[in-house]
């Protein structure tokens, strides 16, 4: 079963490359009542303890395959289920220190069945607009 919080504690960990910490992973469950096609995703922004990671630093794994966020824009046939959290892999040489971190994730996807957002994009928190999720997390490995 999933954790109720959108940002999942389970799976929050550093990842290694060549034996050295190269970044970290965090699992994000798609909130709401339906899964989406990956091309509908407008992107994730991850912030940890105030440090913001750019779109290029965040890869997304869905269905066992990892994509850059630019690749996702073309994937209209790959479905991301509400039952399967996406794994966000964030590039950060050295990784995160063990212990407590404040994690913030902004997520936004287009919704076809409500009116278009205003020119320039929907404001965070507005109906159908980007949503920001926060959770205090504990990194153990």
């Amino acid at each position: 079963m999933l954790e109720r919080e959108v940002i999942q504690q389970r799976g929050f960990r550093n990842v290694h490359q060549g034996g050295k910490p190269a970044g970290f992973q965090v699992r994000f469950r798609l909130p709401g009542y339906r899964g989406i096609w990956l091309s509908m995703e407008e992107g994730f922004e991850v912030t940890v303890d105030g440090e913001k990671f750019s779109r290029d630093q965040v890869r997304v794994t869905v269905g066992g395959r990892s994509y850059t966020q630019d690749e996702m824009t073309k994937l209209g046939e790959i479905h991301w289920s509400t039952l399967e959290p996406a794994i966000l892999t964030v590039s950060k040489p050295g990784g995160l220190k063990l212990g407590v971190h404040d994690v913030e994730i902004l997520e936004y996807h287009r919704v076809s069945y409500i009116p278009y957002p205003p020119e320039g994009g929907a404001a965070p928190g507005s109906f159908g607009g980007p949503r920001i999720y926060k959770r205090r997390m504990v990194l153990v490995r």
Binding site: Y33, G35, W37, G76, S81, T82, S112, Y113, P115, P117
Partner: protein, 330 residues
Amino acid sequence: MTRKNFLQTVAGAAAGAALSGPRQAAAAARRPRRGVSLYCYTDNFGIDTSLEDCFAEIDDLATEGQEMGLEILANGHIEGYPNPSDAWLKQWFDLLKKYRIRPVEYGHWVDSRLYKGSELDTRQSYNMLVRDIRLANRLGFTVGRTKLGVIDRPGTPTYDTLTPVTNWREFIKMALPVAEKHNFRMCPEIHAPTLLKSKMIDDYVTFIEKEKTTPWFGLNIDFGVFQNRPRAQRAGGRGGAQRPLQFSPVSDMVPLLPYVHACHAKFFEMTDDCEDPLIPYKEIVDTLIKHNWDGYLLSEYEGTDRGVGSGSFDAVRKQHVMLKRLLGEA
């Protein structure tokens, strides 16, 4: 009377009722039937509630031996959508049988804004639609809540009317033979703030009549269109965005009923007396009975306490007490 005698008497009465004459059976069949959309349990599903838990819950709402109707949201409830595994399919059919659940409505989307900066063309829309029609049919569903993309932009006069994409007629027409072959009734959902007397509904009805689409293309009415009292404001609660209520009289539904293949029994609140304080359910159900409408009423709960304790489960249970009373099942 001993407990055993009492139980035998009750069982005998139930059997007698079940075996009453064909006229009575026919009369009973011409009434709306009850069901539930799994949408109600969105904030529990996969978190503290499994598909089997939902089915067991719905079976609990049935009158003894009755088959309850079910709506799912394809993109939300089918593991591995749009290609569920054989193991999942087996579980699906096992659970339907175990809990006497009848698959009725399959919620699906034609995601017009699938790709940034453009809208799906007619062929792409058709392909998306047909993929769902086939899967719905494999799972036993006969009605679709066919959600179309909308084109309204802020500031345009049509902002609040949820105008469907301009090519809907073309791809629906292309899909009609596929729908017929798969015994599937495509139904856009008529949802507040849309009014039943409006250009959008006129357009749908003109299309239905001109192209003779019945029953393969029709309508799903969401009873939120009849909500005539405002929701209480709740600090920090969900669904707080209040707009002036724009609603239709229940009688406006009557001329549409021949084209309505399922309804969303939308609700936001239930009192402890099991009454809906916002939507005129007695008038709605009486109207459906009077006009011999015998489709499914699928509960759709949008309360502010979804996912808080047993909020959604309690609310749906209360609504079904109300529906049983109104339908003469209690």
